[in-house]
């Protein structure tokens, strides 16, 4: 779960990490008022969950009231990489001499947290990581002990941070790590961590992603969760409880529904393999409750791009006849089936299941390969 820059900075400030003076604004008037309060220059920053906001015109530096009004007017309400901007952070512009990067994340390969520090702050750190991996110093943390003070210092010195700053940066890194751990974060980054002419250090931008699976123990963070209202279909998916990564909209014409991420991905791959193009990824998970099946169908039916739907279920513990009844019940909820639906059932009692299915409403195929090919063909037919 991502939280906004202003929320992350709130957490940082509370933990004792210095942040620029700032306030959130939801209207142009509010933004101008706040900007006037903070002495100019001031930055007006779109609060949306996308990277590269600056380049996309979502961050503007303003020198006076007039410019502030203009910038706030431009940014509020704009569409930024598909995201609607309804909030801006109005923030003191920090006069910096240097930009650093610090971050904490989980290294999945190692199974343990890693702290990262670089003198190459203020730019896309992923690019730095790829082009010049040695420009980022890394220190793995033993999750049993947490970050030792010496580790914070070590990674800061290894990154080549100036001796005069090293102690302060190490101390901020330690605080960031503890916040990361205490909040069940997945990523916590400060980029840039600005250094002023007086060697003050300020967290000028912040990324803070929280492990969605751990929200139950962080009610304060859970409150910050927002439905991604930027795409109607994704909003609908969320409403139907296909949360997170269970629904991904793509650009093709074959709608795909299945159970289990690996099997659904494989279905996508097969659509591609047989010359089609997937319209979405939709994993409805275990079981086959009629309502969930109906919701899945409604979601894919709502996708204008999808011209046909392949429904691929491997029964597992759940019996195929139960799944078939679920699908029949789900289909009953539609007055009309708007797009060709190809169903393939496998696993326990699959044959019984296929007999139960209403072949007037859906096309039944025995193998995954046949089902996918039928769906690709059906989509092509609709197209033509």
């Amino acid at each position: 779960m991502r939280i906004h820059e202003y929320q992350a900075k709130g957490l940082f400030a509370e933990a004792g990490i210095p942040t620029p003076e700032s306030e959130l604004a939801r209207t142009v008037d509010e933004a101008v008022e706040v900007a006037d309060d903070i002495s100019y220059p001031v930055a007006i920053k779109a609060q949306v969950h996308v990277g590269g906001r600056g380049k996309a015109g979502g961050i503007k530096l303003v020198e006076n009231t007039e410019e502030a009004r203009e910038a706030a007017d431009d940014i509020l309400g704009m569409d930024l990489k598909g995201y609607h901007v309804d909030r801006v952070l109005v923030e003191e512009a920090v006069d910096f001499t240097n930009e650093l990067y610090i971050g904490v994340t989980m290294d999945r390969g190692e199974g343990k947290p890693v702290a990262m520090v670089s003198t190459r702050g203020g730019v896309n750190i992923e690019e730095v990581a790829e082009e010049d991996p040695d420009a980022i110093a890394r220190e793995h943390i033993d999750p049993a002990f947490g970050m030792h003070d010496y580790q914070a210092r070590k990674v800061v010195y290894e990154a080549g941070i100036d001796a005069g700053l090293a102690g302060d940066v190490a101390s901020i890194l330690k605080t960031l790590y503890n916040l990361w751990e205490d909040s069940d974060a997945s990523d916590a980054e400060i980029n840039p961590l600005m250094v002023t002419a007086d060697d003050d250090i300020i967290a000028a931008d912040a990324v803070f992603n929280v492990d969605g699976d751990a929200l139950f123990r962080h009610p304060d963070l859970e409150e910050m969760e927002e439905t991604a209202a930027d795409d109607d279909l994704e909003a609908k998916a969320q409403e139907y409880g296909f949360e997170g990564s269970n629904y991904v909209r793509l650009s093709g014409d074959v709608g795909i529904i299945g159970n289990g991420a690996g099997l659904v991905m494989t279905t996508l791959d097969l659509v591609d393999y047989y010359g089609g193009s997937p319209a979405n990824f939709l994993d409805i998970g275990g079981g086959a409750k009629a309502e969930r099946v109906a919701n899945a169908l409604d979601l894919v039916f709502s996708d204008e791009n999808a011209d046909a739907v392949v429904f691929n279920i491997f029964g597992g513990i759940t019996r195929g006849d139960e799944v078939a009844n679920g699908i029949n019940d789900a289909l009953d909820q539609f007055d009309e089936i708007p797009k060709p639906v190809i169903v393939r059932l496998a696993g326990t009692n699959a044959e019984e299941g296929m007999e139960i299915l209403n072949e007037e409403l859906v096309q039944v195929e025995k193998t995954l390969e046949d089902a996918v090919q039928a769906a690709v063909a059906a989509a092509e037919e609709v197209e033509a």
Binding site: D142, D213, L263, M265, L270, G316
Partner: protein, 289 residues
């Protein structure tokens, strides 16, 4: 012969009194698994499906001489349950639970490094030695006994391939669903190692997916250490970079590794043919045997 579990494995079910725990205990017993105890705090002295329940894993292991456990405990308490199982200690712990906070798993993984226990999962369908025992939620009826080992990050995809194997008369020695979470106990390499050491396994199917570098590392391991032939499959060839699909393991990083292409070529370079479709995987297995 088989890997990790067989007729003799004496199994504790942690969380046996919950809905999932109870249902799958019945399924496991029906399959013939030697489920000897349940463990649920405060439920000691009860019985579920004829299996005695203890308050702690220690008690269950001591009283019933158990050596393995299957964990159906809800995510908020699963980390603690896994520590309990590792510290008992048991030889094998199978964590079915999905959605355990990653930092909890990271700490469990840290403890795991100090033990000799095999942890499978979390967020996995479990492990089965057809005809002998299954620990987890795999549908027993699609499996058949034989000489092909199976390792997979994905549940239903495993079933898909097993179903095809079985329907073509190719049985399985043991199938291990290692789980799709970012941090898991037994990984591809450890599982491959087990199958390599198992004289009853004549070929191995390895089902990977995009994200991470486990498949690339497994390919290097196959190249250097495996005499038993391996057939591969990689799901997620068409996944767009940066989009998450299903479990968190499936992320295409921006760099050269982690993509389907990188994984497929690593496996093929290691002499493990990678099928384009599940059916092709099964055909490859037929060729390797």
């Amino acid at each position: 012969m088989s890997v990790l579990v067989d007729d003799d494995t004496r199994v504790i079910v942690q969380g046996i009194t919950g809905g999932e725990g109870k249902f799958h205990t019945e399924q496991m017993l029906e399959y013939g698994t030697n489920v000897v105890a349940g463990a649920v705090p405060g439920r000691g002295g009860q019985e579920v499906a004829g299996v005695p329940v203890y308050d702690t894993v220690t008690q269950a292991a001591r009283e019933e001489d158990a050596d393995a456990s299957v964990v159906f405990v809800p995510p908020a308490f699963a980390g603690d349950a896994l520590f309990e199982a590792l510290d008992a200690p048991l030889d094998l712990v199978v964590a079915i639970t999905e959605g355990i906070p990653t930092q909890d798993v990271s700490r469990v993984y840290r403890r795991l490094q100090d033990t000799d226990t095999h942890l499978i999962g979390p967020n996995c369908p479990g492990i089965i030695t057809p005809g002998e025992a299954k620990l987890g939620i795999l549908p027993g009826n699609i499996f058949s006994s034989g000489n092909v080992g199976l390792i997979s990050r994905s549940g239903t995809l495993t079933y898909q391939i097993v179903d095809s194997l079985t329907s073509r008369g190719i049985g399985q020695s043991t199938a291990i669903g290692i789980g799709g979470d970012p941090i898991i106990g037994t990984d591809f390499i450890q599982a491959l190692e087990l199958f390599e050491a198992d004289p009853a396994t004549d070929a191995v199917v390895m089902c990977g997916e995009i994200g991470g570098e486990d498949e690339e590392e497994a390919a290097a391991y196959i190249d250097e250490n495996m005499t038993t032939p391996v057939a591969g499959f990689i799901a997620g060839r068409t996944a767009p970079p940066g989009k998450r699909m299903g479990h968190a393991g499936a992320i295409v990083s921006g760099s050269g590794t982690g993509t389907a292409e990188s994984k497929i070529s690593a496996l093929e370079d290691a002499g493990a043919p990678v099928g384009d479709t599940p059916e092709e995987v099964v055909e490859n297995v037929e060729d390797l045997l």
